[in-house]
């Protein structure tokens, strides 16, 4: 019986129905990638804004961490503000989606006016 629990116990834990002393819950893929959002940045004409160039980066692989990974709306707004000097439009449009239990959460659309400096 002990062996049966050992072999099949993780299944019980994996379904999230309970917790056995001999077979604590496993951490499979459920915890990975839950903290980073996806962010699209466009100018007022709908053209993508280059988020890496102003930071002397070619792509995500050599960009600063604060440019590559976005976790909160505030973080996304700050990045949009920081890109204003390199764009020729008055606003930067951002579309932010963060992880939710069902996949991606609802998209948040916002216009960042470039006349306001990042510090407010």
């Amino acid at each position: 019986m002990l062996l049966g629990l050992m072999v099949t116990g993780p299944a019980w834990s994996a379904t999230g129905r309970g917790r056995l002393a001999i077979s604590p819950p496993w951490q499979m893929f459920s915890a990975v990638g839950r903290s980073h959002c996806r962010l699209e940045l466009t100018d007022s004409a709908g053209q993508p804004v280059d988020r890496y160039g102003p930071y002397d980066a070619v792509g995500w692989w050599d960009a600063p961490e604060e440019v590559t990974w976005i976790s909160t709306p505030e973080h996304a707004r700050a990045l949009a503000h920081s890109l204003c000097p390199s764009t020729e439009t008055s606003t930067v449009e951002l579309t932010l989606q963060c992880p939710a239990p069902s996949g991606w959460g609802p998209a948040m659309h916002e216009s960042v006016t470039c006349s306001i400096s990042p510090g407010g």
Partner: protein, 306 residues
């Protein structure tokens, strides 16, 4: 009365299936591989330089003593049991109590439970100091290997069940995982086209692996595909030892005679174990491997044979 007979017949069938007797080279190979994987998985964290309390020191010393004996096969079966218990204790102590996530993942439990299962089979009979010290039988009860295979199937099955939800099947979870490890917030457009089919494919394939690895006709192609899948995981994602552990555990599904034949074809038996498998090779049509005669030529003195 009829129902009782049927129940007893089923029980006998199950017991017979579980209590398979056969060559134990596969168990011995698993013993060595699992000891090395255990070092790779928990070795760094168990360095005494990281010890925070007395239990850390005790567990580290116990683990390294037991796993070293397991690796070289000195009291190999006992050492495997001790290593398995040490791994369970490490899982609880470091993972649960200290909250070290790296030692609390599913592969940590999988490793601990498979090492414990391995100790139920004679994994010390080949490639071991035990065999050098005394003549040992060539065959043994391999029910531990059955349990290991069952364990891996359970992992595949519930890994697939864990993924059977809209978040994963829509591809969103895969995108989030790749966002975390590669692209960050700027996900490329092509990822949205491939993530959903790949997610569905992985989930279906894990269901198929959970069952199909038990079907002899499907075993070889599924193992090839499974190894490819795990190689991709290993290459693309920080899955630690999970991929190599899963692939190594495929040994538990293989027919013991087949493993023995392959070992013989590499001359492993003759060199380390003092075993003449020429009879076995002939019985299993081993000449098709083209190396049976070589094994026979390497056969040790009769005194070392059973």
């Amino acid at each position: 009365m009829g129902a009782r007979d049927a129940r007893e017949r089923h029980l006998q069938h199950l017991t017979g299936w579980l209590n398979r007797v056969g060559p134990t080279e596969g168990a011995s190979l698993l013993r060595i591989a699992l000891a090395l994987i255990a070092w790779a998985q928990v070795g760094d964290r168990l360095s005494l330089a990281h010890a925070r309390d007395g239990w850390d020191v005790v567990l580290a010393i116990a683990f390294y003593c037991a796993s070293s004996c397991m690796l070289v096969g000195w009291r190999g079966r006992l050492a495997a049991g001790a290593t398995g218990l040490a791994l369970v204790a490490i899982y609880h102590h470091f993972g649960e109590v200290h909250g070290i996530e790296a030692l609390h993942r599913h592969q940590s439990w999988l490793l601990a439970s498979t090492v414990l299962c391995l100790s139920l089979s004679p994994c010390h009979q080949h490639l071991s100091l035990d065999r050098r010290r005394q003549p040992l039988p060539l065959d043994g009860n391999l029910w531990g290997l059955r349990l290991i295979a069952l364990q891996l199937s359970v992992v595949y099955l519930f890994g697939a069940i864990d993924k059977t939800n809209p978040a994963f099947l829509s591809g969103a979870r895969l995108e989030q995982i790749f966002a975390e490890h590669y692209f960050g917030a700027a996900l490329p457009e092509w990822l949205s086209y491939v993530s959903a089919p790949v997610s569905v494919g992985i989930t279906i394939f894990e269901y198929v692996l959970a069952i199909g690895l038990w079907v002899p006709r499907l075993r070889r192609p599924l193992m090839m595909l499974g190894i490819t899948m795990h190689a991709c995981f290993f290459l693309l994602l920080p899955v630690s030892t999970f991929s190599i552990l899963s692939v190594v555990l495929y040994l538990a599904y293989l027919e013991p005679v087949s493993v023995s034949i392959v070992c013989a074809s590499f001359g492993i038996n003759a060199r380390f174990g003092g075993v003449d498998r020429s009879g076995l090779l002939r019985a299993a049509g081993g000449t098709s491997l083209g190396r049976g005669e070589g094994t026979s030529a390497c056969a040790p003195p009769a005194s070392a044979q059973r």
